[in-house]
């Protein structure tokens, strides 16, 4: 067919019946869906090779016959079952120790947790050879889980004031801890050692993580204030009065609210007092320790828990 003045597209429709034009229109239709030849050559080889599943990394936990608590800790501390350096994790560690459960700890990070928060518990498989792995227990269900596992459940005090003293720990002590660790400039190296260095060894990433931690702590502290500012004086004053109130509550007793056994409240208070008094943590500035030191019974309480349960 000679070239003529008619544009190619119109000529195609006009000579639709002829065999050469039909070939062309077929090509035209299929060309939209046709894979370009180089890609087609690649896809022709599919499936390429199917590799077997990768083995779990060597550091992955294989202790299926034992409960494993994932916490913020170091490898050496985890082997010895030493306390975690995060108060939220240490509280549960202490609580599980109180209830006499056998478990091992393993270092982890928030990204490893199904709920996004450490700690969480990976319960042991029911039968030795069973392939099903029980679901992980997040920290807010840990208490319920612990009561199903052991007969020696810790009892909470029935005292009317229990809730208010518990709020003292979650409010005043927590804020003071957040301030001292994350926001006090002289403790930056400690934050780096505990939370930043294990995540990454690259400087820009470390800087970014550090600033994220700081920002998170700051916004947590300013959350309940409408004016977006919180004064350091308030935080310190609240912590001081919280310690003296707790000391007054403990009195000469062994455990809080004169219980015969340590309870959840003991665990959560120990989580803070131990870490504040722990001499192995290289604090740059530790104002809370001098505050606790004024209340000898709180120091004794911490030592008692440490000696008997760790």
């Amino acid at each position: 067919m000679p070239k003529d003045d008619i544009p190619p597209r119109t000529s195609m429709t006009q000579t639709a019946g002829g065999p050469p034009a039909a070939t062309w229109s077929q090509q035209q239709q299929s060309s939209i869906f046709r894979i370009p030849p180089p890609l087609k050559r690649v896809f022709d080889k599919f499936p390429l090779v199917q590799y077997g599943e990768n083995e779990l990394p060597l550091r992955a936990s294989r202790q299926k016959d034992q409960h494993v608590l994932h916490v913020f800790t170091t490898l050496e501390d985890a082997k010895k079952g030493r306390p975690s350096f995060n108060p939220g994790c240490l509280k549960w560690q202490a609580y599980l120790n109180f209830s006499g459960l056998e478990y091992s700890t393993i270092p982890s990070s928030n990204h490893g947790s199904p709920s996004g928060i450490l700690p969480f518990m990976q319960p042991a498989a029911q039968a030795k050879e069973s392939s099903t792995i029980p679901d992980a227990v997040p920290s807010n269900k840990l208490r319920k889980w612990a009561t199903t596992q052991t007969s020696k459940a810790t009892e909470e005090s029935e005292d009317l004031r229990y809730e208010s003293y518990a709020s003292l720990v979650n409010n005043a002590l927590r804020k003071a801890w957040l301030y001292q660790l994350y926001l006090h400039p002289s403790n930056a190296s400690l934050v780096h050692k505990l939370y930043v260095a294990p995540c990454s060894s690259t400087l820009p990433v470390q800087l970014a993580i550090y600033h994220q931690l700081r920002d998170a702590a700051e916004s947590e502290l300013c959350k309940s204030s409408y004016s977006n500012t919180v004064s350091e004086e308030d935080i310190i004053r609240d912590a001081r009065s919280a310690f003296s109130a707790l000391s007054e509550l403990l009195g000469e007793g062994e455990w809080f609210f004169s219980q015969s056994q340590p309870s959840m409240l003991d665990a959560s208070i120990f989580a803070y007092t131990h870490l504040i008094l722990d001499e192995e943590l290289p604090w740059g500035s530790n104002g809370l320790a001098t505050q606790i030191a004024q209340h000898q019974n709180l120091v004794n309480h911490r030592n008692r828990v440490l000696d008997q349960y760790f």
Binding site: S11, L160, S224, N228, R237, A242
Partner: protein
């Protein structure tokens, strides 16, 4: 004379803010009927922590905790508590501060109906015009952030994106027909009896959220009611103490405001009568009832005697002063500052006011400013240099030869490269491929292709 700065009165209470209410109650119980020792000044500043107290020696104390500590250290009257009572007082204060702000935030700010019909109008009466655009939305944003973890945003209807399908006539649809269908549906639903089933009631967002809210409210009310028991005040004292005043501050704002969704006050009245009686007892005893209009009317007073006379005439039981009036300059700076804050990345972050001077090195403190400054200086310097001819913008070679096609055209290096046979082959193959692609793609070449076919 002590000057207490608070957010103005609302809902028949001395202030619209819980801690301000508590501070007023505290000072009133501290000084009794003696009005000459202190005064209350309604203010609208949102950048400082309210309430704040300006003492005689010109110290300012921000927040209820600081004011309480100041009063108990300066006077001997408060030191009659036993150590156990002091400890309980600390614990209950902490309990109130943990739970009560969440509930109040939901009731007054997050719930859009309450916010629109009660809180916002109350603020409108109190604040100067510009602060009305700044302070209430800010407090609402803070309240949302505080209650984010509860997931009760469903009672906040403003936040839900409502798709307005009927407003936009879609392409290809007959708008008249659609309007007719919608109208027919409306008429039909009028004919049917409108009955709320249990299911439909529960599905309404405010009701679904209310189950959760009741649980949160119980967590707060029940322990507090048990601690109060049958006592007159929380610490079993004969006079109200600091912790009673704080409890009053929070509970009064839960009980008194007339809001459209009054689940909080309802829970309190139905299940926790002891707490209601406690609030009413405090309210009566300290004479904290306040009419907002009366306080705002004080703004017309000029002299001190005027104010005292007006107070007496309206039988005010609290030493109110005229509200702070913003100057034009102040308004302008606040508005412009707020506008700047709306720009992303320029919003001021939450700050912790340090006790001592900051020990951070200078470069670290001003790192963003230093970086910005350096970048700006470099850019400006570069621009100036190019402009004045100090340095020359790279403009390529002096002599440009057009039509270079072979490697040999590119001097010695090009000649060396052209010697590499592999490269030449590669180039040939590439060009052949491109030609082929062109052949296939371009419709102009149709006839060439057909000829080929014909030959086969």
């Amino acid at each position: 004379m002590l000057q207490l700065y608070v957010l103005g009165p609302a809902f028949g209470l001395p202030s619209i803010d819980a801690e301000c209410n508590a501070a007023v109650a505290l000072l009133k119980s501290h000084f009794g009927p003696d009005d000459s020792a202190w005064e209350i000044i309604p203010t609208h500043h949102h950048e400082t922590t309210l309430p704040y107290l300006r003492s005689d020696d010109n110290r300012t104390l921000h927040g209820y905790g600081a004011i309480f500590e100041y009063l108990s250290t300066t006077s001997s009257a408060q030191n009659t508590l036993t150590p156990t009572q002091t400890a309980d007082s600390t614990a209950i204060t902490s309990f109130l501060n943990t739970h009560a702000p969440t509930l109040l935030s939901i009731s007054l700010y997050v719930s859009s109906e309450n916010y629109r019909h009660a809180t916002r109008p109350a603020f409108t009466a109190l604040l100067p015009w510009h602060a009305n655009y700044i302070l209430p939305p800010r407090r609402r944003a803070a309240a949302r952030a505080l209650t984010d973890h509860l997931g009760v945003s469903s009672i906040d209807v403003d936040n839900v994106h409502e798709d307005s399908g009927s407003s936009s006539g879609g392409v290809g649809k007959d708008p008249n027909r659609e309007g007719f269908e919608a109208q027919a549906k409306e008429r039909a639903s009028l004919l049917l009896p409108r009955k709320d089933t249990v299911r439909s009631l529960l599905q309404r967002p405010e009701h679904a959220a209310i189950f959760k809210l009741h649980a949160v409210a119980e967590e707060f009310f029940a322990p507090l009611r048990d601690m109060l028991g049958e006592k007159e005040f929380l610490l079993d004292t004969s006079e109200p103490t600091g912790v009673d005043c704080l409890a009053y501050g929070f509970l009064a704002l839960m009980l008194y405001p007339a809001v459209p969704q009054a689940w909080l006050a309802k829970t309190m009245r139905e299940k926790h009568g002891g707490l209601v009686r406690f609030v009413e007892r405090m309210h009566e005893r300290l004479g904290l009832g306040t009419k907002a209009e009366d306080v705002l009317d004080l703004a017309n007073c000029v002299t001190r005697d005027d104010i005292l006379g007006r107070r007496k005439a309206k039988s005010m039981q609290l030493p109110w002063c005229p509200p702070e009036r913003p100057t034009v300059l102040e308004t302008a700076t606040t508005v412009s500052k707020e506008l700047v804050e709306q720009i992303p990345y320029l919003k001021s972050p939450p700050t912790i006011m340090p006790l001592h001077s900051i020990r951070q090195p200078v470069w670290q403190r001003h790192l963003p400013a230093i970086l910005l400054g350096t970048a700006a200086t470099l850019a400006l310097g570069g621009y100036y240099a190019v402009r004045t001819g100090l340095s020359v913008w790279p403009r390529g070679e002096q002599v440009q030869i057009f039509g270079r096609k072979r490697f040999a055209d590119y001097g010695h290096l090009g000649a060396a490269l052209s010697g590499i046979g592999l490269l030449g082959q590669q180039a040939a193959r590439d060009s052949a491929y491109h030609q082929q692609v062109d052949l296939e793609a371009s419709p102009v070449n149709v006839d060439v292709k057909v000829k080929g076919d014909g030959a086969v």
